[in-house]
Amino acid sequence: MSSSHILKKDHLIPLLRKLGKAYRLVAPMQNRHGDTLFAEVASVETMALDLDHQPQESLKPFLFPQQEVIAAYEADQAGYALHPRYAAPPPTLYFGVRSCDLAAILYMDVIFSQRTREPHYLGRRHNTVLVGLNCNAPFPNCFCDATKNGPFSELGADLQLTDLGDRFLVTAGRAQGETIVSRWPQFFSAAEEAEIKKQYQLYLEARGGFQRQVHVDLAIRRLAEGMVDEAVWQQLSLRCQDCAGCAYVCPTCTCFTIVDQPRSATSGERLRCWDACTFAGFTRMAGGHNPVEPKKAAIKHRFLHKLKYDVEKHGRPSCVGCGRCLDICFGGTDIARFVELASEE
């Protein structure tokens, strides 16, 4: 069972300072240009912690980087040898993780260990502590209520924070969270009944605070029933700008490609890079044949994967409602647009 504590806001920085000594600290920070990104905290003193804006990307770049070396190779007359390379990040505490991004990490945990244990993701995921932050006020494009993983996180966090104004209600979700509370007990006090009630009140308010109605359930049902008209895919494929941005900012998109990059005539590196199922080259075979009709069927697959196949396989869609693809989509072919088109009778 989880236990509840109170952390006064005055004690947040002192706590982070302690945590920063025990872990590599990664937190959402606003940079001098005004963008908020998860970044490594170099100094607790000067960090511009930003808990008011949605980090423009999830933790995916940290746990499953856009490009990483998975092996180095040497190839010459004498032979051909590949040596695996593993990043070994120090124990890392990710602070201020929203419920959508937490849900996405749980999804990636499954994807990267279910069929095959994927050493690079699991290596980066190993020794991580996740400190969640519940969203009292959903951001403009969010719809995690519709994907049923927010606005307050239900799973995944070691510690979960709720902003009660001058203090945080802290819930220890997993063992690592309890460890933190018991290691630095000076910062925590027991939560009172009123504070827990207040959290529930905030949760209800947050649920009412969504600015977008995205009927994910309805789209899932219509896909399951095969009721989505082919014209929908046609329309989406006409508008899609083929940038791959939706897959890259999506916290649950895990498609990748593997390429060799030579460094010299006799050596090189094998890279694993993000890829997107919407690209024609994603499925095109060496001879030029493409089993997936470019654009139309590729886009269809993207949405079916998230809202049909993963529902069948995992019991829930692999969209976590973070709204980032709505923020970035060039052509207006994001998941909310799809849900809207699919929901039309």
């Binding site: 240009h33 990104l37 970044a39 770049p61 980087p65 856009q66 490009q67 890259y248 923020d327």
Partner: protein, 133 residues
């Protein structure tokens, strides 16, 4: 991992892009959420902006044609050879025998310096770039 805001090098839109650096290598690119042009998105070229930086085909040393073949040489040798050749042509055929192409892919500072170099050092107005192409 570090993210540095820069400006995309492809088309004239001028998107704000973060380059991700890890261990001295540029390993990723992502859009700036609040940049007035990119507003969080990039085209396919922008999302893959990092891919050519460490390409093995990058030139890494100066080359000088020796016996018909481009051969790696030191910077001093390449610069000396160049200034001697430019100086000789200018002396023999006048400054207008020299021409310079600047680049729509280089920075303002570089273009400024190059036109200054062309006009003030080489002594010709024969400078242009592919604005019309």
């Amino acid at each position: 991992m570090r993210e540095v805001l820069t400006t995309c090098v492809y088309c004239g839109c001028g998107c704000g892009v973060y380059l991700r650096e890890e261990g001295g290598r540029v390993v990723g690119a992502t859009a700036s959420r609040n940049h007035p042009v990119s507003r969080g998105n990039l085209c396919v070229k922008g999302w893959h902006l990092h891919e050519f930086i460490h390409d093995p085909a990058r030139l890494t040393t100066p080359l000088l044609r020796k016996n018909g073949t481009l051969t790696p040489v030191s910077w001093d040798e390449a610069l000396d050879y160049t200034t001697a050749a430019l100086g000789r042509l200018k002396a023999d055929h006048g400054p207008d025998s020299l021409g310079v192409l600047a680049s729509a892919k280089c920075t303002n500072e570089e273009n400024y310096l190059l036109q200054k170099f062309t006009r003030a050092v080489l002594g010709t107005n024969n400078i242009d770039h592919c604005a019309r192409l």
